[in-house]
């Protein structure tokens, strides 16, 4: 028989490193010190969403609902109606399960609730197709009055969390499980409805959100090696999207690529296409999940498999420039 002491505690997946969920959890703890009304709701995955930080710091403002996301979502609407500022946390795919509660009891009722979704897109990797959610931004973006955010690194995640809590309306925000590359320093600024240009370029604009921003920067390097000048725009605000910045890019570059760890239908690509079509049409290529579900493998491996890595973005840029 093996003694319990002989075998070490298990390593939980993605626990180490600089992840957006950890930045999100820490931002909530920081905000808790600033506002009394902040409460956090969990459905038995606090360890996965990063809100274990908040639970440990403010146990009296942490509410556990068990594995019951639909109830939790509408409960948040009720708590918001009684003077609290609820933050609902679960995985992106289970936010999808409670879309109708978010629609009626939060958005339609004009409740200020932050819905924070960890493990979006390919981020859940080996958990496989059933857990990989590529439809959440499309579904939430279609709800009137709902702001949809997908920050790109831990620094931006902290700022976006603060902005979402200060915002006068409901917000759906993607976080993330896996460690990510830092893109910003402490001087970075974030505002709902605003994007930022991270690299200048004159031929094509690459617009990305979430984990795709780092990949778009890598794609710009690949393109530069081929003599293509690519501008990179970080668009953490998918709804509302930054129309002014997109129009400026449309004047200054010939074509666009959008990149998201999400379906090409209804998310960032659609938001950019709708904006450009209305203001200043340009050829666009969409990088994201096509008409298919995911499968099990590590996130980076899957990004290459589905063509949403730097090579996929660079290829889309070359194609956009031929149109």
């Amino acid at each position: 028989m093996v003694e319990a002491t002989q075998t070490e505690a298990p390593t939980l997946i993605g626990k180490s490193g600089d992840s957006m969920r950890e930045a999100f959890g820490h931002a909530l703890v920081e905000l808790a010190g600033e506002r009394e009304d902040l409460v956090v709701l969990d459905a038995d995955i606090a360890g996965g969403t990063g809100v274990h930080n908040f639970r440990d710091a403010c146990p009296e403002r942490f509410f556990q609902f068990g594995i019951a996301e639909q109830n939790m979502m509408a409960v948040a609407g009720g708590m918001a109606s009684m003077g609290l500022r609820p933050v609902v946390t679960t995985f992106a795919v289970f936010c999808l399960r409670a879309v109708e509660q978010a629609r009626l009891s939060i958005a339609y009722s004009k409740r200020k609730v932050l819905i924070a979704a960890s493990h979006p897109g390919l981020d859940v990797g080996p958990d496989g197709g059933s857990a990989q959610c590529f439809e959440d931004m499309a579904a939430y973006r279609a709800i009137p009055g709902m702001t949809v955010l997908s920050p790109a690194d831990p620094v931006e995640m902290r700022l976006a969390t603060r902005a979402a809590i200060a915002h006068d309306g409901p917000v759906y925000m993607r976080t993330g499980r896996s460690p990510v590359r830092r893109l910003f320093d402490e001087t970075h600024q974030f505002a709902i409805g605003r994007g930022t240009q991270l690299r200048d370029g004159t031929d094509v604009t690459l617009v990305a959100c979430g984990v795709e921003v780092a990949r778009a920067l890598d794609a710009a390097e690949l393109l530069a090696a081929d003599g293509v000048s690519a501008r990179v725009v970080n668009m953490p605000s998918i709804e509302p999207v930054d129309h002014e910045l997109l129009a400026a890019c449309a004047r200054e570059t010939r074509a666009f690529v959008t990149a998201e760890d999400h379906s090409v239908r209804g998310g960032l690509g659609s938001a950019v296409a709708e904006s450009l079509a209305t203001h200043l049409p340009r050829p666009i290529q969409f990088v994201g999940m096509r008409d298919e579900f995911g499968t099990s493998a590590e996130p980076d491996e899957l990004a290459a498999h589905y063509g949403i890595d730097a090579h996929g973005i660079a290829a889309a840029a070359r194609l956009a420039l031929t149109r």
């Binding site: 093996v2 997946i13 996965g48 556990q64 068990g66 019951a68 197709g129 059933s130 099990s296 590590e298």
Partner: protein, 289 residues
Amino acid sequence: MSATTTETHELATRARRLQLAAIYHAGSGHPGGSLSCTDLLVWLWQNAYREAVPNDAAGGEQFILSKGHAAPALYAVGAEFGLMTRDEALTLRKLGSPCQGHPHVVDLPWTGASTGSLGQGFSVGVGKALAMKHRKLAGFVTVILGDGELQEGECWEAAMSAAHHKLGNLIAVVDYNKLQSDDWNSAICGLEPLTDKWRSFGWRVLEVDGHDYDELDRVFAEARDGCSPAPTCIIAHTHKGQGVSFMEDSPLWHGSVCLTEEQLRDSLRDLGTPDDEINSWLEGSAPRG
């Protein structure tokens, strides 16, 4: 213990070794809840699914693992009963493998339903049972549910509808290991009195030690006697991590965890695995025999 019970135990031990090796090579997965339902799965495959693989749309026995995160146990039992090779089961969670992190019915039709979002497998099971009743097809639909899973409102919608439609051909087995993802059920959102809940929803309720094969014989015989117009719930008292002492009854081993070489070695030793076999598992090839 009868001869057949000893044989069943050996099968279950082999399935436990295989699922742990698969989780180790995948680098992630849920060992606790997989180990807790392994004996239930082995009983079903050894007895109810002896004649034919479940989930034939033409009728006969149907099965759903609604707590889909226990997929490693399902694949391992499937492999022990010849539905795939052990080496295939070892491709768990790898690109191109039919053994995804959660069962996918398109990749593996014998899994009956794509699961992983808790609660839904139960409703799909109600749908199968209702269709079988409507089409006058013989056979039972058996669904394995987690106890934490029962917190989903959908489970109680499913339970209510199954009783309303008098689905005597439906058996819900609750893998009652009293633990869920972050903590004990009682600390997260209490389920008790669980037996009364099911009864009040119009179900026949039976209780059993979910690791005792003789008791499982008895309780499944009753559940499958065909006498009850009401659906049957079997509350199977189990231990999360059953079979590996350092994982037993510990929330730490729910998942999704990355097993180290040492941890796999220790858990295989705990399961009485001979040293040469341990090396073979570590290398990623299933021992022969």
